[in-house]
Symmetry: C2
Subunit: 308 residues, 2 copies
């Protein structure tokens, strides 16, 4: 059984941002697009890991919304950064926590020796699907991409992971149109909101707070880890209520990353971006015990404890 | 290390079909929809496995195209068949070979003891995205769903798996509109074909034949299995040229399943449907060595050898 580590991260943010009272939100403009952000973050992750695409054994797309209905996003990233590399490219999707789910899944493949190095590519451009009449989400989402090289490691490891979908909340956060349930070609100019991001702000917050609490309370029993054992929590930056939720869960302020003011909710890029931020600001160091704690549309909660 | 087996399969086909000269294609009509097919196949898979949803530890959506951009398809299936079950639901996507990729991925999780029983839900309703001016795909795709219960097993196992994306063929088969690259709300009535299935029939066929051959030729070296060791090949039912490709690869007719005439290309449901067909027609029995051999938009090739 091999150990698993996050060897390096790479970030790509849009050039421009919008300033709201609630904070700064990076958003694509002009020629910038989702694919470019994903590929730029991937190149940065490789470079920061001291590796090249030739070292990668698999590319996993872990975005909330794909570039095209067909093929998968990872194949389109592969086309740009790995065209002649004979490696698999596939997507894993649990919306906002796709990065954690992908790390969880590929961890087992690395542990079993199937792959030595995996490239996880996360990122979304939620700004293109916002409804300006829904202020709480319109001012919340930011665009960005973060990729990670996941490798066999002597010093790091995934220590525990759990994931639960509470589908009573399946429609609290959604884009209902664009898939098979409401095809794109039913768009008629008058039903645009069906093709836009929608979040029942208050209900989603209440449900998330309750369910994150439930998962967190259960972790000691199921993982053996107490809150005291965790050096830093990297939560999904779901909303500006993050601090409120963490206080309710009795998590001290110095024990979690909250950059919702500075960056908003960057959807699938949020968790790896907050990890990158924590590393760059010296709040996470190699050897630290780090917990990813994410909530996603579904409603899905992920918790993962790693030795970074 | 635990062994992995396909405990049971469940199929759901639309009530109606269309007859072309090239064969019969099942297609949804009236109130039938993608979600209903997926859930019905899942219920059938559970029932055929002698298990219930309470036994499942994870639901994996393995479709080519999702129900909605957000949340993932597995969460929407969870909402119908597992609403109060505290289990994860997430999607894995490699287009037409999503079932094989999902089995490959969850196999490692079962092997490591993370899950005991997994429910993989595959299926597509390609008929809603067909372009009647593109006859080769218009007459090829059929709708359907197949689910599988994957469990720890004493007698079955996954013996070998490989997956390669040849993204030189990334645009040979695609639906370009509906994701972030061409959002649904750019649909204007005159650009419908961008939101429809498109396949460069001849180029896709030539590329697939070449690459399947490459993967197949490499299997003996990488897996130790010779063609003689394989009892039955379950290929993706990509097109009516399946027989032609198999003949070129020197695979005898009694060694693979070709039901393209009867059912067409059922996208992500094709591979598990062909397995189910092979079992029901007595061509695959417990203990047989079976090879899944799939091609998918991407262009991705999957090969997997199991002891069924």
């Amino acid at each position: 059984m091999l150990n698993i580590g996050i060897k390096g991260l790479g970030v790509a943010l849009p050039k421009n941002y919008v300033e709201f009272e609630s904070g700064r939100r990076y958003r694509i403009s002009g020629e910038e697009n989702h694919l470019d952000l994903l590929c730029k973050s991937a190149e940065n992750a490789l470079s920061n890991s001291g590796l090249t695409i030739d070292d990668m054994d698999v590319i996993i797309g872990a975005c909330a919304v794909g570039l095209q209905p067909i093929p998968c996003t990872a194949a389109l990233v592969h086309e740009v950064i790995a065209k002649d590399r004979k490696i698999p490219a596939f997507d894993i999707n649990s919306t906002c926590t796709s990065f954690i789910t992908a790390l969880d899944v590929v961890g087992y493949q690395i542990q079993a020796g199937r792959y030595k190095h995996a490239l996880i590519v996360s990122g979304d451009v939620g700004s293109i699907a916002l409804n300006e009449n829904e202020r709480h989400s319109y001012e919340l989402l930011g665009d960005g991409a973060v990729s990670a090289v996941i490798s066999q490691s002597e010093t790091s490891d995934i220590l525990y992971a759990t994931q639960i979908t509470y589908s009573v909340g399946a429609h609290l956060t959604e884009i209902s149109g664009g898939g098979t349930a409401l095809p794109a070609y039913y768009y008629n100019g008058n039903n645009k909101e069906k093709y836009q991001f929608h979040m029942e702000g208050k209900s989603a917050l209440v449900a998330t707070a309750k369910l994150v609490g439930e998962v967190l309370n259960n972790i000691e029993k199921s993982s053996g880890f107490k809150l005291d054992d965790i050096d830093m929590i990297i939560p999904h930056q779901a909303s500006s209520a993050l601090g409120l939720i963490m206080r309710r869960l009795n998590v001290p302020e110095n024990k979690y990353i909250d950059i919702t003011k500075q960056y908003g909710n960057m959807v699938s890029a949020s968790v790896p971006f907050a990890l990158d931020y924590a590393i760059k600001s010296g709040r996470v160091r190699r050897g630290d015990i780090v917990m990813f704690l994410g909530s996603a549309a579904g409603l899905t909660i992920n918790a993962m404890i790693i030795k970074f």
